[in-house]
C-alpha cells in the first residue's frame, strides 16, 4: 500500500462521514460544518492527484467563501433555530432512504461495470505545460477563453443584479461624523443623557434619576415615560 492509497482511504472515509453528517445533522450550522469538512478532505484528495491548484482553489473558494457565506446567513437567521423534524409528507423519510440507497446501488453497479482505461495521472499533462497551474492557464485563457469570459460576464451580471435588488434609495444624504458632532455640540446636551434612577424599590426604566437638589431629572427617562414621571417617583420615594 503506497502513500497515495493510504491518504485516499483516510480522506475518502472522512469525506463520506462529512457527507453523511450533512444529512443526519439536526442543526443547520452543523450540516454546514460537515460540508466544509468533506470539502477539505476532497481538497486533500486533489493534492494527491497532482492537481494542487484545484485543491487550493477548492478550499479558498468553497470552504473559505461559499460555506462561510452559508454559515454567515445561518448564524444571522437564528442561533438556536433547529428545523422541525415533523414529516409533512407521509412516508417521505422511508421513501427518501429507499431512493437514495437504490441510486447509490445504481451508481456503484454502473461504475464497476465500466471498463476504465489504464490510469495515467496528470504527470505528463503537467510537465507538458511546465506545471499544473500553467497547464490550467493554457486551457482557460487559450483554448476555452470564450467560455471563460462568458461565464465571468454571467457572474458579473449576477453580482450587479444582487446589488440592484439590495439597493435602497436614500431619502436624505447621510450625515457625516463631523456634522453629527457639530449638531450634538449645538443641541445643548453634549454628554450622554443621564441613566434612569436606581432606587431601593425600583430600578426600572420609568424611574427618573434624582438631581442633587432632589428634583427629577426628566431627561433620564425615555420620552414615552416622561409625562408620568411624577407619579412613579412618588410611589417609589413615598
Amino acid at each position: 500500500m503506497n502513500g497515495e492509497s493510504v491518504v485516499f482511504w483516510i480522506t475518502a472515509i472522512f469525506a463520506v462521514i462529512g457527507a453523511l453528517g450533512l444529512v443526519v445533522s439536526r442543526k443547520a450550522v452543523h450540516s454546514a460544518l460537515w460540508v466544509a469538512f468533506a470539502m477539505v478532505n476532497l481538497a486533500i484528495l486533489y493534492f494527491t492527484l497532482e492537481a494542487p491548484f484545484l485543491a487550493t482553489s477548492q478550499i479558498v473558494v468553497y470552504t473559505g467563501a461559499v460555506m462561510m457565506l452559508f454559515l454567515f446567513v445561518l448564524m444571522i437567521v437564528g442561533v438556536d433555530s433547529s428545523d422541525s423534524l415533523l414529516e409533512t409528507i407521509k412516508g417521505q423519510r422511508a421513501l427518501a432512504i429507499l431512493l437514495g440507497l437504490s441510486f447509490g446501488a445504481l451508481i456503484i453497479v454502473g461504475i464497476t461495470a465500466t471498463a476504465a482505461p489504464a490510469v495515467v495521472g496528470l504527470v505528463n499533462e503537467n510537465i507538458g505545460y511546465g506545471g499544473n497551474a500553467q497547464g490550467l492557464a493554457h486551457l482557460i485563457f487559450d483554448r476555452y477563453l470564450l467560455a471563460f469570459e462568458a461565464t465571468s460576464a454571467l457572474l458579473i451580471t449576477a453580482v450587479l443584479g444582487a446589488m440592484v435588488l439590495a439597493h435602497r434609495e436614500r431619502w436624505a444624504p447621510r450625515k457625516t461624523q463631523s456634522e453629527l458632532s457639530r449638531e450634538r455640540t449645538r443641541s445643548g446636551q453634549v454628554t450622554p443623557l443621564p441613566n434612569p434612577g436606581v432606587m431601593a424599590r425600583s430600578n426600572s426604566v420609568d424611574t427618573p434619576a434624582l438631581l442633587p437638589d432632589g428634583t427629577f431629572a426628566q431627561a433620564s427617562l425615555p420620552t414615552q415615560f416622561q409625562s408620568h414621571a411624577d407619579d412613579s417617583v412618588k410611589e417609589v420615594t413615598s
Binding site: K27, V29, H30, L33, A36, V40, A43, P52, F53, T56, S57, I59, V60, T63, G64, A65, M68, L71, F72, M75, I76, V79, D80, G130, G131, N132, A133, W171, A172, P173, T176, S178, E179
Partner: protein, 438 residues
C-alpha cells in the same frame, strides 16, 4: 517563458528528505513559533509600555523575558468555565481550528537556503509546491472558521456579533490580500514561495511593486484582527468579542493563534516583498551572507521589524469605526489593487515581447498612481463635499411638501415628508360614563 531560478529555484529538491529530517523541521518550526509567540507578547508589553511612558513587565527573568511564559502557565492552570448555553462540540473545536491553522501556514515559508541537517543537504523549508502561496490563502480562510465558530458556539450575543464581524472583515481583506499577491506572481512567474524568493535575487519586490506591498501590509493587519483593525474584539462595543465566553487553555489557544498569525503574515510579507531570507544591502556584499545558516538571522530580523510595526500601530492608532473600515477595504484597497494589477500586467507583457525598459515604466506608473490618488483626495476636499451634501439636503427639504394626491391617486407620505393635518375635524364619539347619572 523562462523561469528565473536562483539558489533554491528548483522545486524537485523538496520531498526528498528522510523522515528524521522532516520530523526535525516540523518540530523546529513548532518550537520557533511558540518561542516567537512568547517573545512577541513580551516585546509587545515592553514596547507599548515604553510608548505609554511606563516600564512594562521587568520582574520575571532578565528584562522580564519570562513574564509571558509565566502568564501562559497561569492561564493554563486557571479554572475553565464553560457556560451552560454553549454548543459543546463546536465550542471545543473552534480554538483547535484557530491554533492548528495558524501553525500550518509556516510549512511553506522558506527560512533559508540549502543547509546540511544530519548529513543531508536540504532546504530550510518544510515543503514547497507550485501553488504554495495559494495554500497560505487557503489555510487562512480555514482559520476564519475558528473565530466564527467560537462566536456562534458561545451561544451569546456579543461573541456572535464578534464572530460575524470577523468573518466579514477577514473575507473582505482576504480579497485585497489575494490581489496584492497577483503582481508578485506576475513578476516571479511562479506561485511557490521558494521561487519567489529566488526571483528577488537582484531586486526586492518592495521596490518594484510598492503599491502591492502597501496593500498587503494593510490587509495583513486586517487579516490578523490587530489594532487598529481589531473590531471583532472591540472591548468598548463587544466586551471581548468572539472569545468572551472562553477561559483557561481554550482562551490561551486563541491568544496563541493571534500571535502565531502575526508572525506568519510577517513572514509572508518578508518572503513576497523583502527578499525572504536574502541579506539586506550592506550585508549582502559579504560573500557568505546568503549561505548556510546565516540567512535565518536576516529572515527573523525582517520578521521582527514587521512585528515591531504591528506593536507600534497598536500603540499609536485608535480603532476604526466598523463601517469606515469595511468601506476602506471595499472601496479603496480592492479598486486600487485591480488598477495596479492592470498596470503590472501591461508592463510584464511589454517586457516579455520587447526590450522595453519596464522598470522605469513601473516606477513612473507607481508615481502616477500615487499622485492620482492624492489629487482625487485633494479634489474631494476642495470641492466641498459638505456643501454639496447641504445643497442636496436643502433640495430634499424643498421637495418635502407633501402632495397627498400626487399623480391623481391618494399616496402616503415619503419618509422625509410630513403629512398635513386633515382640514376635517376628526370624528369623535362622546364617551358614555357608566354608572353615573347625568
Amino acid at each position: 517563458m523562462k523561469i528565473r531560478t536562483g539558489a533554491s529555484g528548483d522545486l524537485n529538491i523538496f520531498g526528498q528528505d528522510p523522515l528524521a529530517v522532516v520530523l526535525i523541521k516540523v518540530l523546529g518550526i513548532f518550537v520557533i513559533m511558540v518561542l516567537m509567540t512568547l517573545l512577541t507578547i513580551w516585546a509587545e508589553r515592553r514596547v507599548v509600555g515604553r510608548m505609554q511612558m511606563r516600564i512594562g513587565p521587568n520582574r520575571v527573568g532578565p528584562f522580564g523575558l519570562l513574564q509571558s511564559l509565566m502568564d501562559g502557565i497561569k492561564l493554563a492552570l486557571k479554572e475553565e468555565i464553560i457556560p451552560v448555553g454553549v454548543h459543546l462540540a463546536v465550542y471545543w473545536i473552534a480554538p483547535v481550528i484557530s491554533a492548528t491553522t495558524a501553525f500550518l501556514t509556516f510549512a511553506v515559508i522558506p527560512l533559508g537556503p540549502e543547509v546540511s541537517i544530519l548529513g543531508h543537504v536540504t532546504p530550510l523549508q518544510l515543503t514547497d509546491f507550485p501553488v504554495s502561496v495559494l495554500y497560505v490563502l487557503a489555510i487562512a480562510s480555514v482559520g476564519i472558521y475558528g473565530i466564527v465558530l467560537a462566536g456562534w458556539a458561545s451561544g451569546s450575543t456579543y461573541p456572535l456579533l464578534g464572530g460575524l464581524r470577523s468573518s466579514a472583515q477577514m473575507i473582505s481583506y482576504e480579497i485585497a490580500m489575494g490581489l496584492s499577491f497577483v503582481a508578485v506572481f506576475l513578476y516571479a512567474s511562479s506561485m511557490s514561495t521558494s521561487q519567489i524568493v529566488a526571483g528577488q535575487e537582484h531586486l526586492w519586490y518592495i521596490v518594484l511593486l510598492l503599491p502591492s506591498f502597501v496593500i498587503y501590509t494593510t490587509a495583513m493587519v486586517g487579516e490578523t484582527n490587530r489594532a487598529p483593525f481589531d473590531l471583532p474584539e472591540a472591548e468598548g462595543e463587544l466586551v471581548g468579542g468572539f472569545h468572551t465566553e472562553y477561559s483557561s487553555l481554550k482562551f490561551a489557544l486563541f491568544f496563541l493563534a493571534e500571535y502565531v498569525n502575526m508572525v506568519t503574515v510577517s513572514a509572508m510579507a518578508t518572503t513576497l516583498f523583502l527578499g525572504g531570507w536574502r541579506a539586506p544591502y550592506p550585508i549582502s556584499l559579504w560573500s557568505q551572507a546568503n549561505t548556510g545558516w546565516w540567512p535565518m538571522l536576516w529572515f527573523f530580523g525582517k520578521i521582527f521589524a514587521f512585528l515591531f510595526v504591528f506593536i507600534w500601530l497598536r500603540g499609536t492608532l485608535p480603532r476604526l469605526r466598523y463601517d469606515q473600515f469595511m468601506k476602506f477595504g471595499w472601496k479603496v484597497l480592492i479598486p486600487v489593487s485591480i488598477v495596479w494589477i492592470m498596470i503590472v500586467a501591461v508592463a510584464r507583457e511589454l517586457k516579455n515581447h520587447s526590450n522595453f525598459d519596464t522598470r522605469s515604466l513601473m516606477i513612473a506608473a507607481a508615481v502616477v498612481l500615487v499622485i492620482g490618488v492624492g489629487l482625487s483626495y485633494i479634489y474631494e476636499l476642495r470641492t466641498g463635499k459638505e456643501e454639496q451634501l447641504e445643497a442636496e439636503r436643502q433640495e430634499l427639504l424643498a421637495s418635502a411638501d407633501f402632495d397627498p394626491f400626487a399623480g391623481g391617486f391618494p399616496v402616503p407620505p415619503m419618509p422625509h415628508q410630513q403629512a398635513q393635518p386633515s382640514r376635517h375635524r376628526p370624528l369623535t364619539v362622546p364617551s358614555i360614563e357608566v354608572g353615573e347619572e347625568q
